[in-house]
Amino acid sequence: MLREEWRLHQSLIGPMGSAFFPGFIFVFTVALAVLVPMFLSGLCYSTLLLMFHVASVMYGLFVGSIGHIGEEIWSRRLGQINVILQLPQIHPLSFKRVMAIFYLKDALYYILYSYAPFTLGLAVAAPLAGIALGSVAQLCLTMVLTFMMGMSLSFLLSASAVRSRRAAGVIGLSVLGVASLVWPLNVLTPGQLLLPLGYWYKPNPLLLVFSVAVTVTLSISAVTVIKERFEASQRRHRSSLLDVEPRFAFTGKLSSLVAKEWVELSRSGVMKQVVLGLAGTLLGVYFIIWLIETGLGFHFPFNVVSYSGFVGFMGVLTYSWITAMEHNESLNALPVSVDEVVEAKLVLYLILTAGISAGCVILISVARAELGLLALGLLVAGANAVYAGSVAARLTGLWTNTMFFDAKVISKFAAAVVPPLLVVESASLWIQVIGAPVVYTIAAVSLVQVAASILMLRGVRGKWRRVSFAFAVTEA
């Protein structure tokens, strides 16, 4: 299974792409470690440790939601790809057993892919940052154990949800209830819930043993509830594409393709990911700003325009989600080209991000009492969303998820998108000091981004017209 995972990665993103992520983690960790003394000037040690362990449990929760894979395999969601997990369909193998092995494989893979380069980066930077190597080893151990706690919980939740959404809901609410004892009720300390974190305050090996016991218990429970048999579903939708298409008549000859995309979006469950992804991103933006202000002690005059740039930029996640909705190989038999489908997806992207981005900007401007900057904020969010989306479309076509792991592609994306964003972000900090000239500058940059988007869209046609619809494309 490990070999299969590695080969799947390689087929999707190539060997360079496969090496990019751990390489990036390593470099980022070295940089972070060097900055630790600066962080500690504004943040206390315990807050830093808490951040690391909360990040680990969140990471585990994110990667652990694999319990639904059985249903996806059964309902033929994987398209042309077949994996070892499907062997129980035709061989005398228990699906529970195969899923248990798959789960262990995933855990090992993510630990090697993420935590190994993280630990190596810290170890390399330790002498510069004045961190003891023993502390590095301990941090790696406690973060991995916390990651596994998150991963096992997520595995249990996702496996339970396949059997009973109600049961999964009860488990989820129970976990939230326990977490609320830490915050906001302050009945428990974070270390009493995240036991490996607690080891830093009371170095009692039993805490680590108990965290392993919790992980093992959750994992075994998850495997126990895994279904062996899945009923074939036959969901029915009494709608017609001809009824949906007129809504998109404004797109001209793309209307039928945009209608197809809309129908697929509403039925595939991707909408949830879009909303959660953007909400999570906003939280991430707030967190980064909090970290800069609190951790580094820098106080920047952030305003709604500052947030708007990020809101727009992060909309590119929406584009990557909607390009992963469906394999489009059947379109090879029709007179439809990849660039036309890219354009249709961009229309859908703009519809989604316009609504969500505008909503976010309005909320932020109301919360910060900065309604005077609302119009500029909307322009900045819109321009960055359009520009980031069109650059992503130009560079990656329909294969954003996989091609963004390619170091060349992500570098080109960053080179195109980051500089104007930095200009807007930097300028936004001077609005209150300089006023109108800065506002005009930001507006001008935004209009240039919109103009550049039009050029990017012209490039989509040239680059993707002759490419076939395929499961994965590593270069075009």
Partner: protein, 247 residues
């Protein structure tokens, strides 16, 4: 058929390589209007690769192909002119059977969408499945939808890769009779299949491909070495999998 009917498919010295594998080596063939042309070969011989080149889905490394009078480099024009049934049944997962056909009609700019959709759902007895998501259909039902999608615009040229796969005998006959009807109207069909019994009843001309090269082309009668040899015997003899039939 040749000489009196225009060529609708011409492949000239087509070669194609995938990494270490030479999938096609200098392949040339001609299909004339009104032919029911069958291409046969062992697994991995290059049939699907050739069909994908003819339909413009991939480009050859060398050589040229024209399909329905259009260079295969202009894949959009080729696809507008022909009907294609790909090797694997992969309709869009989250569209219903009805919506798939509606989409096909809209992309092809056809009139009377409702009428056409109803006709083909009826032909394949899928009326009660019209609102089921394609991913929830059985393999055979998905294959029917891919066939319907290829037939719906009544093209003059059909390129079919394993069209009978996963179909039950009732629908194998129904599709066979439909294709024979098209042939009687002077349309052209290019087909790859392993179901030689059906192919023997349908094909007016055949070619056998093995290891990326055409090893024989002509009518079944021309290829018979001895009386009574059927297509399976011819195939086995040509690809070297068994002794020639001797009496």
């Amino acid at each position: 058929m040749d000489g009196t009917h225009m060529p609708v498919i011409e492949a000239v010295n087509i070669s194609k390589r995938f990494a270490e594998v030479e999938a096609l080596k200098d392949v040339s063939l001609t299909v004339h209007e009104g032919d029911f042309f069958g291409l046969f070969g062992p697994n991995g011989a290059g049939k699907t690769t050739l069909l994908r080149i003819l339909t413009g889905q991939i480009l050859p490394d060398s050589g040229s192909a024209t399909t329905a009078g259009v260079s295969s480099h202009d894949s959009m024009s080729v696809k507008r002119a022909v009907g294609i049934v790909p090797e694997a049944e992969t309709p869009p997962s989250f569209m219903t059977a009805q919506e798939l056909l509606e989409l096909t009609c809209r992309i092809r700019g056809l009139d009377d969408v409702k009428g056409r959709v109803d006709r083909w759902l009826g032909f394949f007895e899928m009326e009660d499945k019209r609102d089921v998501l394609c991913k929830d259909l059985s393999k055979g039902q998905r294959q029917k939808m891919m066939l319907a999608s290829a037939f719906i615009h009544e093209p003059r040229l059909l390129l079919l890769d394993e069209p009978f796969i996963n179909l039950d005998p009732i629908f194998q006959r129904k599709v066979r009779e439909y294709l024979q009807g098209l042939l009687a109207e002077g349309r052209t069909i290019f087909m790859c299949t392993h179901i030689l019994e059906i192919a023997e009843r349908l094909c007016t001309r055949i070619a056998v491909i093995s290891d990326g090269s055409i090893i024989e082309e002509g009518t079944i009668d021309q290829m018979r070495e001895v009386e009574g040899e059927n297509l399976e015997d011819i195939f086995m003899r040509l690809v070297g999998e068994g002794p020639s039939l001797t009496l």
